[in-house]
Every structure is written in C-alpha cells, then in structure tokens.
Symmetry: C2
Subunit: 400 residues, 2 copies
Amino acid sequence: MLVQKYADMLNAKSVIREMAAFAAERGKEIGYENVFDYSLGNPSVPVPEKLREVMAKMVLEMDSVDVFGYSPTLGIPSVREKLAANMRKRFGVPYEGKHIFMTSGAAGALAHAFRCVAKEGDEILTFAPYFSEYGPYIDPIGAKLQVVPADTEKFQINFEAFEGMMNENVAAILINSPNNPSGSVYSKETIQRLADYLRQKEKEYGHEIYIITDEPYREILYGGVELPFIPAYYDNTLLCYSYSKSLSLPGGRIGYVAIGPACRDAELFINMCGQISRGIGHNCPTSLMQLAVAEVGDLTSDMAVYEKNMNLLYDELTALGFTCVKPGGTFYIFPKALEEDAKIFCEKAKKYDLILVPGDGFGCPGFFRMAYCIETEKVERSLGALRRFVETEYPNQNLK
Amino acid sequence: MLVQKYADMLNAKSVIREMAAFAAERGKEIGYENVFDYSLGNPSVPVPEKLREVMAKMVLEMDSVDVFGYSPTLGIPSVREKLAANMRKRFGVPYEGKHIFMTSGAAGALAHAFRCVAKEGDEILTFAPYFSEYGPYIDPIGAKLQVVPADTEKFQINFEAFEGMMNENVAAILINSPNNPSGSVYSKETIQRLADYLRQKEKEYGHEIYIITDEPYREILYGGVELPFIPAYYDNTLLCYSYSKSLSLPGGRIGYVAIGPACRDAELFINMCGQISRGIGHNCPTSLMQLAVAEVGDLTSDMAVYEKNMNLLYDELTALGFTCVKPGGTFYIFPKALEEDAKIFCEKAKKYDLILVPGDGFGCPGFFRMAYCIETEKVERSLGALRRFVETEYPNQNLK
C-alpha cells in the first residue's frame, strides 16, 4: 500500500503555489504581462555570461570522467579547497577544504545540517517571519520546529519571546538573514547578542547549541547594508549556502554546508554529512556545477534590478500609507496589510491583478509578501494598480 | 551535540572503498597503470560527443530561466513527456508524462520509491547478490531490508528461499537486473514466475506488493541477451533509472522513477514523490541535465569495450578453472573464489596487484567481484598477473 502520510501532504496546499497558479490562469485570460505577479521567488536576471562560457568550455573540452564522472561524496576536492580559500579571504575565518560539504542547493544543505545536529525529540528554533518550507524539511527527522514570534517593528529578533522559549531540548537555532520574506538583514548588534546568549546557554545546559544559518540571499544587499558573517561571531555554526540567487542558478542545484573551523569535531561533521547522504539519496551535486561555481569565484548576476524594484515599491507603499520595514536585501518586501486578515487583503488584491502572498504561512499573520524578482517595467506598471486597489478598497486609508 | 548514529556509521568501512584506496596508494608506488584495479564501478568510456554538443548549445544559447532556472518539483514537463513517449515506443507500456518523476540519479530515484511504499516496520525483500548500498538507503525509513540467499548456480532467483521468507509485512521486492555484482540478467521465465507469485500473494494478503526495479545497467547487455521489461509483466512496478552508466554520466546526477501506468493511484504516487522530496532535500535534479538527456533520447556511450573486457576475463577465468556465471550485461563479473573465505582470497590477490572485492558485502560470501570498466589494454595485461596469482597461491587448481 502507498504510504499515506505523503498522500496526505498533498491536501495541505501551499498558498504561494496557489497564488502562482492563479496568476498563470489569469495570464491566459488577459496576457501574463498584465498580471502583476509578485508570488514566486524565482530569480529573473540572467546568469552572468562568463558562467555560460566557463560551463560550455568544461562541457566541450574537459576529460569526460572529470566533468561527467562521479564526484566524491563530500564534493570534488579542488572545488572544496577553492571555496574555502575564497571564504578565508573574504570573511577572515580559517576555513579549509575539509570544512566544506558540497550539496544540491540550500535544500540539500539544510537536509544535511539538520540531521547532523537534531534527532527525534529535539527542538529547532527559528524566528518569524520564516521560510515556510522549514516545517516539511524538518518533519521527517522527528525534531520539532518551534517558531519564535516576530519582532514586527524591525524584523530583527524578538529576544524576549526567544528567551522565554529557550530550553534544554533546543539543539539548533535556524536563522535566515537576509530574510525571506521580510528582506531584513540582522544587524551586528542582533548577531552579537544572539551569540553571547547562546554561549551562556551552552554552558548552562552543558551541551552545544548550533546556529544553522540559511544564506541563499547573502549576495543580494542594498545601499551598503553590511551582513555580519555569523561564523565570525559564533563557532558552532553550520552555514548553508546556495548559488541559486547569487548566480540566478536555482536549476543548477548547487550549494554547500560549511562548518565553523573552530567548532568541536568540525571535520567529523563533514564526514557525517557523507553518511547522511546515503540515507536520503543525495550522494553529491552535479560535478559540472561544482566545477563551474568554483571557477567563477565571487562573480554574481547583476543584482541592480532588484534594488531598483525595491526602491520603486518601497516609495509607493510608503506614499500609500503602508507600514513597511525597508528591506536590506533579498528580492522580497513584507508590508503590513491594510486589514487584520492578510488573506482577505490578498484576496481583494487579485481583483486588481495584483498577486500578493499573505504572511500567515511565514508565521507572521497580518503582513504580506511581494517577490519583486520581475522586470522593472512591470513593477512600474503595477504601481497604478496598487494605488487603485488601496483607494478603492480602503478609502479611509491615510495616503501621503 | 552531534547526532551519534551518523558518526558511528563512519566506523563501518566500505570494503569497496578500502580496496580502491589501497589501489590508489599502491599506484603511487608502482604507477597506477600497473595496478589492476577492479574495485570501482565507474564508467570508463567517455560520454557521447553528441551529448557534449547538445549540452554546450543549451548552456550558451537557451534562455537563462529555462536552462538555469528552477525545474518544477516533479521535473520539467516537456522532459517527462519526451521520456514517456520514448518508453511507450520502446517498451510498449503506455507511459505518459504524469507517470515520470525526475530524480538525481538512481540513488535519488530509490530514495523516493522506498518512501512511497515502505514505512517503519515494513520489509523490503531483495535477492543476493545485491548492491551493498541498499542497506543504508533503506535504514532511515525504519523499514527492514531482508536478503534472500543467492541462487549461486545461475544468479537468477532462489525461489525456494524467497517463498520461505515471504510474509504479510513485505511491502516491496527490490530487484536489480542486469545485476551488480553478478552481471546476470533475469530471464523472462524468472520474471514471469516472480510476477505470477506476487499477484497470488497480493490476493492472499489483501494488499499490494510492489516491485521496485533498479535499472542503471539496462542498456549494457551482451551478445543479444534480452532484458524483460518488468512493468510489462507486473503492473505495480516502480522503475528506478539512471543515466549514469548508459551515458557515462554519473556526475550528472540524473535519472527518474517511472510508475506503472496500470498501477492503482499511479499519478498519486508521482505527486507523493514531490512531497517526499521536500523532506529529504532533493527538490529536483539539475534542469540542464534533464533537458540534455531528453534531447539525446536513446543515445548511449560506446559499450563495446565492456563486452570485449568481459570476454577476455571470462575466457581466462574459465581457463584457470574458476566457476563463473557468464555475465549477460553490466560491467561486473562475479566468479567463485578459490578458497572458502573470499576475503582471504582477495587479500592474497593484492600481492599480484590485482584489486578484487570479496562478495561478502554483496550478501554472497565465497565469491568476488571484478569491475572491468577499465581500459582493455589493462585487462589484457592483468591476465598474466591473474595466472601467476592462481598458479602460485593455488598450485592444486585444475587449470584448463
């Protein structure tokens, strides 16, 4: 018989996917260019030309076994060395190749990181608003995802709520900065306070508490905002990275887990990842993608379009009287809805061909997400629809 | 704290990897070209030139989002349609796109197939000799892998032992033909008998019993041997395929699960795979690899070298008096060792720079595996070493 729990999961529909499906359907009626689809976080800017060139050259010229053959389970040694050298130079943390485990994207990285530190009965704490897939990612391990309510003022960390929820069963703290869906970047002060608090709790409980930091948006930062490098603040950090956003390469399925070099048993953790792989069918990411991202180094896609879109939206939302934390990065913005139930708010927006996602699934009801990884021209055209929506549906709104 | 079970797995060393490591070390002393390394099943023939061309063209010319963007979780729709059409035409089973789930290789395919049909407490039966990774693949699900002792005469199925082990807790039968490590191909008669027996047991137990067929060696067949297409014999079949061997593309991490179109809830199974993916960090295989394998259709690498190597080895092994089933495919041969303990036999062979793998790990003690996916020239040179090894260590052996 089929295993019922996976069949049952199909009934719990994803709001994001429902919104995207609605946008696609509506697009068939009025032309997709006329649907202001802010539902999906798919990078819209192309990969850098140099990445295409590097990859094509490898495909055509490299020895077949080197580029199409098996990668070792932990990743191709030269790739791991290159990435470690890059991180040493860039962040000043003494990574070596042995601290890097190559994965198929951030999802693959998180699947290994969670299994390294959390088992049945453990808790993993994360902070709202949070990426809604964390639940299904953690569920099969038998650990429990606990969500700390949001700091809705600044989308930093609600320390009061956090400290109230902290307990001995917490194996790891899962953070995501720059954050999906809020676009916020945790400040140096936030990270320092988190690190100090966790070190104190580690002593108190007599066991490690790991930070798992999910950083696919690391390279998408706006207006000189600085992103504190977590492993420089806290030794027991498992950094999960993906090239999906920085190189517009989500279909390449390439990322890594980097374990803090000063973490106890650091190298053992990486070898454990190789064992975890056997049980989840991961094995290793594509050899070609490993070689290609190592070759292009710090290169990224042209992110300027995301910042331009963000500024257009932020200015208009503010002018329309929305309460909204200005994003420090990512390609998301997360304003407060104009009525208590963001689901109703987003439902009404559909009439104006505005496809928004309510914050409930991100653990933050009353807010909504706009993923502005779309053409700037479309963002510009959407502003009129946004204004009409607010003026018509919320006539008492205090427009600025 | 780290999760101890994965740390403990590191102590259970893989004999294959130990042998390969020994070969690499010995290669540093005498030159790797002088080590007759039959340890690893890594394809040695290059990918077809056409695959390189197709891939390079996609990398350079396709729209960035189409070739580097996210694939839907179930796979790229056009790819699924193309593969289904190909299977309809080739095998006469009415697959449609909705019956195909794209995966990162056979390991990814098996990870999904097992989770579709087996849960904690269930049994999965397989037949010795079997691929030694099946144990770690199944272990995290909580199901139990039960190994039916080998039919050491012909490496077909030992039905007497199988029927004795069959019981109501068996959720699936896992088969691998052409077989690693024996190289044997299950005959039409074997498959027909298996299918008939399982249908009878399904009625008796009142629940489905699935066949999970692991077929990475499907395209490597010798001397006109015919491979029965399992889903044509048995509806409740989950076929797990990988392009690792047929296109020499193990580093591409690309394969699929195909569910029998006549299986009850066939489409539901495929949708369940999408849910399973979320919990194991799979998501989807690389978009580029999906598109490339669909484009090249039935193309394979040049497999002639494997058959040539097999014949060289088979003739010499037979002449040296080994008991040996002639392989019908793969790039493995699995002769009987010349003493009871194959581990001791393989240890002695090292002195002659012959790297062989004892059959114990494959559930078949007393035999040994040779993976002859190496240059023919090296196979030819190894025959002298093989003869010296036998003449010196087993002087009473009845040479032909």
